[in-house]
Symmetry: C3
C-alpha cells in the first residue's frame, strides 16, 4: 500500500527485472553466402532460414514446466522481415509463436509452428531440413505438399496457425506427435481448386470445412530410427510419409524417405504425387559431407529429379562454412524458371548465437 | 588513439557489452486459448494482449533516473504483428515506445503509450484492463471512447502518439497524471464526421485543430481508491470518468466506474454516451474469481448490457489458466455481427516472462 | 541416445541457454524531443536514428572471431518500424544485418549495412553522422548522393544490400575499407533517369548493369585524421570525397569534408554536384558545442547553404539532453517545402542502452 496507483503501470514497466533476466533466452542464427543459379546472376543469399528468437522455461514444480517460444525470421541480405513467394511479407514471428506446458504427460503447446509431420521429417533429410534449393525438405521430402494453403499469400508452407501441438513422452523408443488446427479463417487469397475464378472452391478469407491435422509416430532403437506420418491440410490435400535413418558408423548416417500426396479434393487431374529421397551425412574431423538424391513424380507429368552434394566445415560448435552443389531436372525444374535443368551453387557461412 | 577510425563504427557494433547486459530487460507474455463466440466457429485466440518488450532504468545520481520502454505486440495464433480492425497491421511497438526521466518531481516521458485516463482506469476494471470481449476495458469502461481516432486505420484506440506523459509523485494519497499530444498528422484515413465523403470533417493525414490531452487524478486511502479523469482526442470527442475500488477483505476487491462520452463535435446526433461498470475480484487460494456487469447507452439507441464471469487458476506467479464466460446484449452487440445477444467463452493459458 | 527424435526440435527450442546468455548483447537507443520547422507545427520527433539491436562475438581461437549484428530501427513517437520518404516502411533490420569473420586479415562481413564511404564519413561530420536536418550527413556531407537508388521505395539512402564488406587492419595509420554489392534486383520502383515513363532507364525490380562499390582509405597521425573515399551506386552515380579532422586541443575537434557527385549516367543536365562542410565540436565539462556550416551546389541550380549550432549536455555516459538550431537556404531548401529558407529547432533527450 506504499505504492501509488500508477505504480502498477510503472511497475509493469520497470520491475520484474530479476525474473526477466533469468527466464528469457535470446537465440538465433545468420546464414549468408554467395549463391549462383544457372539462370540467374551471382547473388548474395541464404542457405538456411535466418532466425532471431526468444524462449523460456518456467519450472512449476512436480515436473511441470511452462514453456514459450517466439521466433522471428528475416532476410539478412536486405535486412527485411522474411518474404515468401513474390516478395510477400511473412508474419513477424514466422518461425513459431507457441506457449504450453510440459510434464510427464508430454508437451502440449498452442499457437503456430511446424506441424508434427514437418517437424519430425527433418531428422530424415540430409540437409538437416533447411529449405534451400540444395536440400530436399521444401519439395521432394514432402512430395510437393503444403501444410497451410489457406493462409495469407507468401505464408509458410509447413506450419499450422491456430493449432494445438502435442508431443508424447518416449515409450519403448516410440513417440507420438500430433497437431490439430481450428477451421478459422486466416486471410487467405481465393483458392480456385476445382472451382472457377468467379466461384473459387475456397473463397478469400474462408474457413476450412474440416480440421487440418498432422500425426507422426517415430521409433528409435540403438543407431536406427523410423517415422510414419500423415497430414491433411485445410483444402483436404493429404500426405503420408515413411522414413528411416541408421548410423552405420558413429560418423556416418544414412537416411531415406518415401512420401505420397493426394490432392484429389482440389484437382481434377495430376493429383497423385509420389516422391522419395535417399541421403547420407558423413563426418570427417571438423568437416561433414552431405549427399542426397531424390525424385518427385506428379501423375501425368514429367518426373523431377534432384542430386545434391555439400560440405560443411565447422570453425566451432556455433559457426561453420559451407559449399553446396545441386542439380534439379524436370519441367520446369524450379518455377517460375522455364529451364528443365537447373544447377545451384552456394558458398557461405552459418553462425548461430 | 590506438583504435582505427572505423573502429568507431565497429565499437558501436561490438563494444558496450558490459552495460548492455545489465541495462536491458526483456519481458513479455503469451496468452492463448480456445475461444468461442455465439456466431463463430471454435477458434484459437487470445484473451490478453501479447507482448514482447525491452526496458531499462539508468541511475543518473541524485535520485534521477533515465527510463525507456519498447513493447512489441503480436498475435501468437498466427505469429503476426498485432492487427487491429479489418486485419490492418498495428505499429511494431504497439504496446509503447517511450523514453524519459524519473525523479523527485515525478516521471516525464516522451513518445507513445496509454493515455493517463486509459492507464489509470485499468485498476478499476475487473478483468485487469485486458481488451478481450470478456472484459469491459475496451468498450463499457470507457463509454465507447477512442483516444486516437486520427492514427492509421487499425491503430490503437487507447493511446496517444507524439505525446508527453507526466506522472506526479504521490502526495497525501493523491497522484496527478497527464498526457498531452501534439497536433501533428499521423497518416489517418479520412474521418467524415459532420462532413461528407467528398468533404470530410477531417481529411486524410490531417493535423488536429487542438492538442489532445488526458488527465487523471487518483486518490488512495487504506483499502480504498478513487479516480477522476477527463480526456479529449484529436477530433474533440470528450470523455469523463469517475471510478472507485475498495478491498472489503484482503482477498476481495470491489470496483466501479461511471463514464460519459461527448461526441457532439463530430456527430449531429447519438453523440452522448453514458456507461457504468461494477465488478469484483475474489481470491480463493490459487484461484481468483472475476465478475462484472455493465451498461452503455448511446442517446437515441438501444442500451448495451454485458455480464461476465471468469476464473483464473495460478500455476505460479507467472503462469495461470483461465476460463471466462460473458454475454453482451444490444443492437448489434458486437460489430460487425448483426446479432443482439452474443456469448463468449474462453479457456486458455497466460504465461508471462 | 537418451533423447527422443522430437527432442531435437525441442532442444532447438529449449537448450542452448548457456551460450545464448553470454553471446547476445542487446543494445540500442531512444531519441525523442520537440522539433519545430519553419513551415510546420510543433512536432514530437527524433534527432538521431532510433535503434534496437542484437549483436555478438564468438572467439574461434587463433585470433579469429565470428561476429554478427542485427539492428532494428523505429519511430518512437508512433511506435512504428522506421519509415522513409512518403511513409514507406523500411526493412525490419534497417540499421544493419551482417555476419562475418574478424582476424589478423581484418574484418569481412556479408549482408546489408552502411557502405565504406558512408561509414567512414561519419567521423568528419560535426553532428556525429546523425541524419537529422540539423546535421549535414544526409545531404551536404555526401553532396546529395544516394547509395542505394534501386531498393524498394523509402529504403535507406546510405546502405548496400547484398554486399560484402571488408575493413583492413590499420597499418602505419592507414586503413582500407571496401564494400561491393551484387547486381541482383531488390524490388525497386521504376527509375526514369534518361529514359521515359514508358521506357524508364531502370525498370521496376531490375538488376544493376555494374556492381555497386564503395572504397574509403583513412589515415591517422596523432591528433589528425584524413579520409579519401569513392563510391558508385547501382545507377552509376559516382561520388568522391576528401575529409579531414584535427584535435587542436583535447577538447576541440575541427573537421571538414569536400564531396563531388557525378550523375551524368542518369541525368541529361544538372548532373554535377559539389559540396563542402566545415564543423567543430568543443567540450566544456559535461557540455558539448556542435557547430557547422556547409554548401551544396548542383550545376545550373541555386546553391544550398546550411548553418547549424547545437549543444549536448551529458547526464551520464549513456544519456544526454540536446538543443539544436539550423538554417538551410536554397530553392527549395527542403523538399517538398517550397520555401527557400527553413529554420529547424530541436530540444530533446538521447538515451542509449
Amino acid at each position: 500500500m506504499k505504492k501509488s496507483l500508477l505504480a502498477v503501470a510503472l511497475l509493469g514497466a520497470f520491475a520484474g527485472a530479476a525474473h526477466a533476466q533469468s527466464s528469457v533466452q535470446i537465440y538465433g542464427n545468420l546464414d549468408l553466402g554467395l549463391v549462383k543459379r544457372t539462370d540467374q546472376s551471382l547473388n548474395i543469399g541464404k542457405r538456411a532460414n535466418n532466425t532471431l528468437g526468444f524462449k523460456g522455461v518456467e519450472d512449476l514444480g512436480n515436473g511441470l514446466k511452462a514453456i514459450f517460444q517466439l521466433e522471428m525470421r528475416y532476410e539478412p541480405d536486405t535486412g527485411a522481415n522474411e518474404t515468401g513467394s513474390n516478395g510477400y511479407q511473412r508474419p513477424l514471428f514466422q518461425g513459431q509463436s507457441r506457449v504450453g506446458l510440459s510434464g510427464d504427460f508430454g508437451t502440449v503447446r498452442v499457437g503456430r509452428g511446424l506441424t508434427a509431420f514437418q517437424e519430425s521429417s527433418i531428422a530424415f533429410e540430409p540437409w538437416h531440413g533447411i529449405p534451400s534449393p540444395q536440400g530436399f525438405q521444401a519439395d521432394l521430402a514432402v512430395a510437393g505438399y503444403t501444410s497451410d494453403p489457406l493462409s495469407p499469400t507468401g505464408n509458410s508452407a509447413n506450419r499450422f496457425s491456430n493449432a494445438v501441438f502435442y508431443n508424447s513422452p518416449e515409450w519403448m523408443g516410440l513417440q507420438l506427435n500430433t497437431t490439430i488446427a481450428t477451421k478459422e479463417a486466416n486471410g487467405n487469397a481465393a483458392f480456385i481448386g476445382r472451382g472457377t475464378a468467379a466461384a473459387p472452391q475456397y473463397p478469400a478469407n474462408t474457413t476450412s470445412q474440416t480440421n487440418p491435422y498432422s500425426i507422426s509416430v517415430t521409433y528409435r532403437n540403438g543407431p536406427g530410427a523410423l517415422m510414419l506420418a500423415a497430414e491433411r491440410n485445410a483444402v483436404e490435400s493429404k500426405v503420408a510419409s515413411f522414413a528411416g535413418s541408421v548410423y552405420v558408423m558413429p560418423e556416418t548416417k544414412l537416411m531415406f524417405s518415401i512420401t505420397r500426396q493426394d490432392q484429389e479434393h482440389t484437382r481434377p487431374f495430376n493429383y497423385d504425387t509420389k516422391a522419395w529421397v535417399i541421403g547420407a551425412n558423413h563426418q570427417i574431423g571438423n568437416g561433414k559431407i552431405l549427399a542426397g538424391v531424390g525424385m518427385k513424380h506428379v501423375d501425368g507429368m514429367e518426373k523431377v529429379k534432384q542430386f545434391s552434394l555439400g560440405y560443411e566445415y565447422a570453425l566451432s560448435k556455433r559457426t561453420y562454412l559451407y559449399a553446396d552443389f545441386s542439380n534439379k531436372k524436370g519441367a520446369p525444374a524450379i518455377a517460375p524458371s522455364t529451364q528443365t535443368s537447373i544447377n545451384h551453387y552456394a558458398l557461405g557461412v552459418f553462425h548461430s548465437f
